[in-house]
């Protein structure tokens, strides 16, 4: 586990740079993670991130299908927001664990 300081906040990351404690997340952390992925966050991104965090809190396994049915973006739009690896990238930026679902 590594500790990183973002702005004034100290956060804990696992070896794949996912937050180990999702309560340490805030918008600054999201922006920093997004920068690492080459993404500039817009309001739409945050809508997706908040959806993912909410599902995570509910204990739901997140899939791209669920994001596609969220009413926020369709799957094509999800790929456009978080290119190449939408579910992994968005989960990391949302400060929740790496997705465990195969779809």
């Amino acid at each position: 586990m590594t500790q990183v300081t973002i702005a004034t906040l100290q956060i804990d990351l696992n070896e794949e740079r996912y937050l180990t404690d999702s309560s340490q997340w805030n918008e600054e952390v999201a922006a920093e993670f997004a920068k690492e992925e080459g993404i500039e966050l817009t309001e739409k991104h945050f809508e997706v991130l908040n959806f993912l965090r909410q599902k995570h809190e509910e204990g739901v396994d997140i899939t791209i299908r669920k994001v596609g049915k969220s009413g926020i973006v369709d799957i094509k739009g999800f790929y456009a927001l978080f290119p190449k690896k939408p579910l992994k990238k968005s989960s990391r930026i949302a400060g929740i664990p790496k997705p465990t679902s195969c779809v």
Partner: protein, 176 residues
């Protein structure tokens, strides 16, 4: 791990590059065969891997509009088939009228619970992420089907030569 093994592991890691391109071939039309190809394909797209899926022979059912969402599980001659609870499924029973349909409906219901989409939606997901779907020309000629019979996400009907032309030395070809 011996010192030599450690050295090998180290050098392999150094030279290893992430998977870039896959070409997945689906030649069979049971639920298990088709979903294996679809899960592999969608998984590749989700990892940012350039993905092409080639459907041939009985696999064509998976892209044929009137068949794709009604695929069946083989209940006869399938030794891995089990009753709910794990008791082996007798082949004689699998041959009775309606059994295959019933079992297949149960399979589809079970998959839906796990958020695994129906075939047409799964193919939508793959193409939404940039994956490409192709049908085999030889199989189309054999079965007398064409683009008009296929789901709108099928890009084109191609020969095996054209399939190989789309691949290069960075492509992994996976036959499910």
């Amino acid at each position: 791990m011996s010192a030599t093994e450690e050295l090998i592991a180290k050098s392999e890691k150094k030279d290893a590059r992430p998977l870039e391109k896959v070409c997945i071939i689906c030649a069979k039309g049971t639920i298990g065969d088709v979903y294996a190809a679809l899960v592999m394909s969608n998984g590749a797209v989700m990892e940012g891997i350039e993905t092409k899926v080639f459907f041939t022979f009985f696999g064509l059912d998976a892209i044929t509009k009137k068949r794709m969402n009604k695929l069946h599980t083989g209940t006869v001659g399938n030794p891995a088939m089990r009753m709910p609870g794990g008791i082996p499924f007798p082949t004689m029973l699998g041959g009775l009228p309606g059994v295959e349909s019933g079992v297949s409906a149960m399979m589809r219901k079970q998959m839906d619970k796990l958020d695994i989409p129906p075939v047409d939606e799964f193919i939508d997901m793959i193409t939404a992420g940039g994956g490409e779907i192709y049908a085999c020309k030889l199989a189309c000629d054999m079965f007398g089907v064409g683009m008009e019979d296929f789901n709108e996400n099928v890009k084109s009907i191609i020969t095996v030569g054209e399939l190989y032309e789309m691949c290069d030395d960075r492509t992994q070809i996976i036959f499910t």
